[in-house]
């Protein structure tokens, strides 16, 4: 079975502004792909290209083997989408939305709807204008998931949801992938996707700057090392050890951040001197991620 999403040289310009530049990407069945980047990096543009809402300037993107722009109708029958800026019809209730979109798909209300609503603790009888942002988001998730699509395209789906519900949504995403479905999940923070994503792509200023398996990122996960020596040590003591970050040597104390792969070398250097105290703690994955892919999170491009 081929890729669910294949983007090749995908570029989108709005007038003189290039929102997405030369994106090449594949998402496989059963995979949850975390699509990360600051606001304005081009995540939403990518997702809208995949959903056939906008047309590529150059390059192409195919979904389930079909062209995202030309074959939008048969693709949409097999894809669930949660838009980033979700707007519902104010006067319609959750059930009205469900029934309307089910009818546009040529069917009636799927049996799964009530079960999803219960899992998400959502009252589908209320009109959209009375719903909080989080509850609207839940309606959107129900609409995307109710037909059990082969691909889920989710643009920051857990924004506005409380942590408990975020867990539920993550559970739904994992179930979907376990059943062989693919998920493209965008977010501006790793924390939202790290529990579910098998791979992540990092987008910055319209360019995909890295694609990495989450396991590989974990292997690179940084450890904070703090050592107190009995006597002053040379400032360049750790120079032979590769891949270290934030090394500070101040007389008899030393600090650094080391990936797992460098820990052994660090220990060997350290143990050559008399040690009073030693501490080593694994950093949050988010910190590792920022260390490798920069703190440019606030630089909306």
């Amino acid at each position: 079975m081929g890729s669910v999403i294949t983007a090749e040289g995908l570029t989108k310009a709005f007038g003189a502004t290039v929102a997405l530049r030369d994106l090449t990407l594949e998402v496989q069945p059963g995979e949850v792909f975390g699509y990360l980047g600051p606001n304005g990096a081009g995540k939403t543009t990518t997702l809208r290209l995949i959903m056939g809402l906008i047309r590529p300037t150059t390059g192409s993107v195919s979904v389930l083997g079909m062209d995202a722009w030309r074959d939008a109708v048969p693709i949409h029958a097999r894809v669930g989408y949660v838009p980033g800026e979700l707007v519902l019809y104010d006067r319609l209730t959750g059930y009205d939305h469900v029934d309307y979109l089910a009818a546009l798909r040529g069917g009636t209300r799927p049996a799964r709807v009530d079960q999803l609503a219960e899992q998400l603790d959502l009252d589908l009888r209320r009109p959209a204008r009375e719903l909080s942002r989080g509850n609207r988001q839940k309606v959107a998730l129900v609409l995307a998931l109710m037909t059990e699509p082969e691909l889920l395209v989710l643009d920051e789906p857990t924004g506005g949801l409380d942590p408990m519900v975020q867990r539920t949504v993550q559970g739904l995403i994992l179930d979907h992938a376990a059943g062989g479905g693919a998920v493209l999940l965008s977010s501006h923070v790793l924390g939202e996707v790290q529990r579910v994503a098998s791979r992540i792509g990092v987008l910055r200023a319209g360019r995909l700057v890295a694609v990495e398996r989450l396991d590989d990122l974990r292997a690179k996960s940084l450890h904070h090392v703090e050592v107190q020596f009995a006597e002053a040590v040379p400032a360049g003591i750790l120079d032979p050890v590769p891949d270290l970050r934030d090394v500070t040597v101040d007389g008899s104390s030393l600090r650094c951040s080391a990936p797992q792969s460098s820990l052994d070398a660090v220990l060997k250097v350290v143990s050559a001197h008399p040690v009073v105290d030693f501490a080593c703690a694994e950093a949050e994955l988010e910190e590792t991620f920022l260390a490798y892919y920069g703190a440019g999170e606030t630089d909306a491009a």
């Binding site: 056939g52 809402l53 109708v73 838009p83 707007v87 519902l88 009818a103 546009l104």
Partner: protein
């Protein structure tokens, strides 16, 4: 009620339609109520005859006789008030169809459903047609039924003919609104341009008979197709129906092609 885009759109328009319907019924009642006092005032006809010709052409269908029910309605209702109402309704519906949903961002829900953009536009068009024809039919019904109370003898078939032409007049401008909304996504442009166009073509039709350089343009005014043949007296003009119908079809095709080729804004 939510089986497809047309019924959903009609449901959205339902409240507006009810409001417009009440307004039309009351408006007709008002005109009908004034009729007896107008009929007994021969001075009214003299007054209109004495109006400057340009004025008479702009605000009254020429040649109408205020002392007959048909002439009275033509001058008072059908040459100005009714077209405004029906055109406003159709333009609002045409603009709301795509540009309105797009600016409220609900269009994403429709475009990402397995529904082609062509079908989306056509279903929205159907809703606009049903609403505009419905409103015109309501106006015709109000005229015939309420007219009976005031002893106005109105030929039903000719009222129906006038309403057919009225609905087509509305749909031409509604079609312009739809096409511009589909091509640009702008609610402002899709309401503003048809409004300006309506005023200009109204004036061209009104003054075309007198201003020599406007005369060749007069026939292209949708208002000429609407009333030049005096539908309340002479019935349906099939050539005028065909011209208006073809115009609407062309505008809908433009709307579909425009929307199929462009990005949906977010």
């Amino acid at each position: 009620m939510l089986r497809d885009i047309t019924t959903k759109t009609l449901r959205d328009q339902g409240r507006a339609f009810a409001g417009w319907g009440v307004a039309i019924v009351l408006l007709v009642a008002m005109y009908v109520a004034i009729w007896p006092s107008m009929r007994d005032q021969p001075a009214m006809s003299d007054f209109i005859d004495q109006m400057p010709e340009a004025f008479r052409n702009l605000f009254a269908t020429s040649g109408a006789d205020m002392s007959t029910p048909v002439g009275y309605l033509q001058i008072e209702l059908l040459s100005f008030m009714a077209p405004i109402l029906v055109i406003l309704y159709a333009v609002t519906a045409g603009s709301a169809a795509v540009a309105g949903e797009e600016s409220r961002r609900t269009l994403d829900l429709l475009v990402t459903a397995p529904v082609s953009r062509r079908r989306l536009v056509l279903e929205k068009t159907l809703a606009m047609v049903i609403g505009t024809v419905g409103l015109s039919a309501l106006l015709g019904l109000a005229l015939v039924v309420e007219g009976r109370f005031a002893d106005m003898s109105l030929p039903t078939a000719d009222v129906a003919a006038a309403m057919l032409h009225l609905a087509l007049l509305g749909l031409v401008f509604g079609g312009v609104a739809l096409a511009i909304g589909c091509a640009t996504g702008s609610p402002g442009l899709s309401k503003g341009i048809p409004a300006v166009l309506a005023v200009v073509t109204y004036i061209v039709n009104g003054l075309g008979g007198m201003v020599s350089w406007l005369e060749p343009l007069q026939k292209y005014s949708p208002f000429y197709q609407y009333a030049a043949h005096d539908p309340l007296r002479t019935g349906v003009s099939w050539p005028a129906v065909v011209v208006a119908f073809v115009t609407v079809v062309v505008l809908v095709v433009v709307a579909v092609l425009g929307f199929e080729r462009r990005d949906v804004h977010n």
